[in-house]
Symmetry: C2
Subunit: 384 residues, 2 copies
Amino acid sequence: MRECRVLIITMLCLMMGAMSGVAQQNLWHTAGVVSPEVMDDGTVTFRLYAPEAQSVALVGDFVADGSVAMVRCEDGVWEYTTPQLASELYTYSFVVDGMRDVHDPQNVYMMRDVGTQMNYFITPGTPGSLYAAQHVPHGTVSRVWMPLEDGRSRRMVVYTPAGYEDGKGRYPVLYLLHGMGGDEEAWLATGRLAEIMDNLIAAGSAEEMIVVMTNGCMRHDAAPGYSDEGMWRPYMSGSMDGTFEQMFEEVVSWVDDHYRTKAQRAMRAIAGLSMGGFHAMQISKIYPTMFDYVGLFSAAIFRGEEGVELYADLEAKLAVQFSRAPQLYWIAIGRDDFLYDENVRYRELLDRMGYDYEYYESEGGHTWRNWRVYISVFAQMLFK
Amino acid sequence: MRECRVLIITMLCLMMGAMSGVAQQNLWHTAGVVSPEVMDDGTVTFRLYAPEAQSVALVGDFVADGSVAMVRCEDGVWEYTTPQLASELYTYSFVVDGMRDVHDPQNVYMMRDVGTQMNYFITPGTPGSLYAAQHVPHGTVSRVWMPLEDGRSRRMVVYTPAGYEDGKGRYPVLYLLHGMGGDEEAWLATGRLAEIMDNLIAAGSAEEMIVVMTNGCMRHDAAPGYSDEGMWRPYMSGSMDGTFEQMFEEVVSWVDDHYRTKAQRAMRAIAGLSMGGFHAMQISKIYPTMFDYVGLFSAAIFRGEEGVELYADLEAKLAVQFSRAPQLYWIAIGRDDFLYDENVRYRELLDRMGYDYEYYESEGGHTWRNWRVYISVFAQMLFK
């Protein structure tokens, strides 16, 4: 049995720079156990109090082979220290005697992806620091409800950059769409949109802009828990039948009515991931005068429902859109993404028709890790 | 061994009324396990997949004696069904072989209280329905940053009622303060402020109002994770040295500058729980012309730091405040609250000085269950 290294008071240095804080014990918690402990060199120690467990494993997107055994030390605390990790936002959970999805009770930082809550942490350096709150001016994040013509309302999340409330200026708008199983909270929680925009704008790397995050699943008015559907368990759902895309003119019009926007094509962007990339492709095509910047992140290009009128005649509609080519038509995907091949096909179509686009290929697959990079890169190219 | 009743597809009827949804399986989750399953009659079944566990207990604020053993059924799923529970928002976790604070991986609904994340659910009826999103118009919830004179900024949460964005009208403002260890997120997450206000306003039981939730711990600019302090573990901290109270004039002035408020004493309320109740008492006293409605919920009346000038001469300052008595001075506390006696002392002081106040005594102690009731009652008395 290893000597136990449970720290009663320890310095947590999760972020780069001068930030530090004494981790004090919560009144109601296992005294003394600190987890995760992120060190300046990028190693991370996890600790879990499981006094009678026979085996404890750590599962995380930073663990080779997906899972690694933890070691029992004294006092029933299990421990594992990673090798140096590259700078990133990582998620993890524990497996205790075959029980999966055990959260770290010492770590209050959690994010939900579809129907799963996960603990997360950030290691020092870049891009991790981009995903963490820094000492920079912060934008406002609002959850607003847009009334629809049919009498219902739909919830959306709106980011307005620092200074918006104190000025009279108008701003360009990025519409940012989630994937299947996501909702209007996804880009904010898992995509770290507010932190990324605050940090890019403060660094002068991105223009000040409003970011509007809608809910692209027409079956739901809002993210789970925020509508009268009650506390349903989120699952893989979405809308690829044209209804979301048709509503989008109303969304843009409502945003232009309620925010100080620059209401013109040159000052509007639309982007999305997976299903949201499909939506961005469709919406920019059916409203060809609306968006000058289009971002398709791991887009589900050819996954629309069969027989939907709106999706028909792709080439003819693209011809209209590209008759006045967007300022930027940006396609990004990871080499291991299950949608890689259909993105190849789509680019071949664009090539054949002679349309300009930019292509960004990364490592990895259909992951938030990639989407955080894509939005960080894309946002810097907008409205310049 | 009991027969296993793991449901593959089950109707989740968490809310009162017509809401229902098919609980579908998340791609990445234990197939088939549904937990918690809240029935219309108020019984609730919990299920946890823990195939090798020797003992599993359920811990919750609805469990007599605090914890109850769960029963192992087939397939490694442990189960427990409650008796009928009164309508309420309840929190819970599991204890598995001595490992505490195990979250329910099937339940994405979590709230944080200080340094602890907890699963929660709501049982049918009242007051539970008041704490759940209903089919009513929803207000906007914004996280905003208020710049301070010293160059830093402080984060706050602002609720504006449905219709605010579409009108030109002015609104009264309730300033709502958290307790020690809390932050600007506490009333929203654990206090269910937005749901309560939406529901009360829609029912015509409360006036339309803006609610401003500040951060009353001057050591931090923002709730954990939102400032450049990084991802520290929240702990029991606060400010009872006068600095928060002294800043409050700046807060009110900023709110009046940035929202369409009715900027007058008759249209301002201040309330808080525990330390926030102390703050509300102090602030309403040191700014006697500012608030016509004061709510002290389980207030830490006599816990201010020694020797703070601002806290001195209580009776003389109260005399100034009550020389023009507030429209409502409301004191609420539970019979089992550890602050009960000092609230008795404070009421004796007010009685001796002949000042009018209303007193609301409930069962229970220093709990969010009480504070949700207090805000629901208090909000209905404001600005009428």
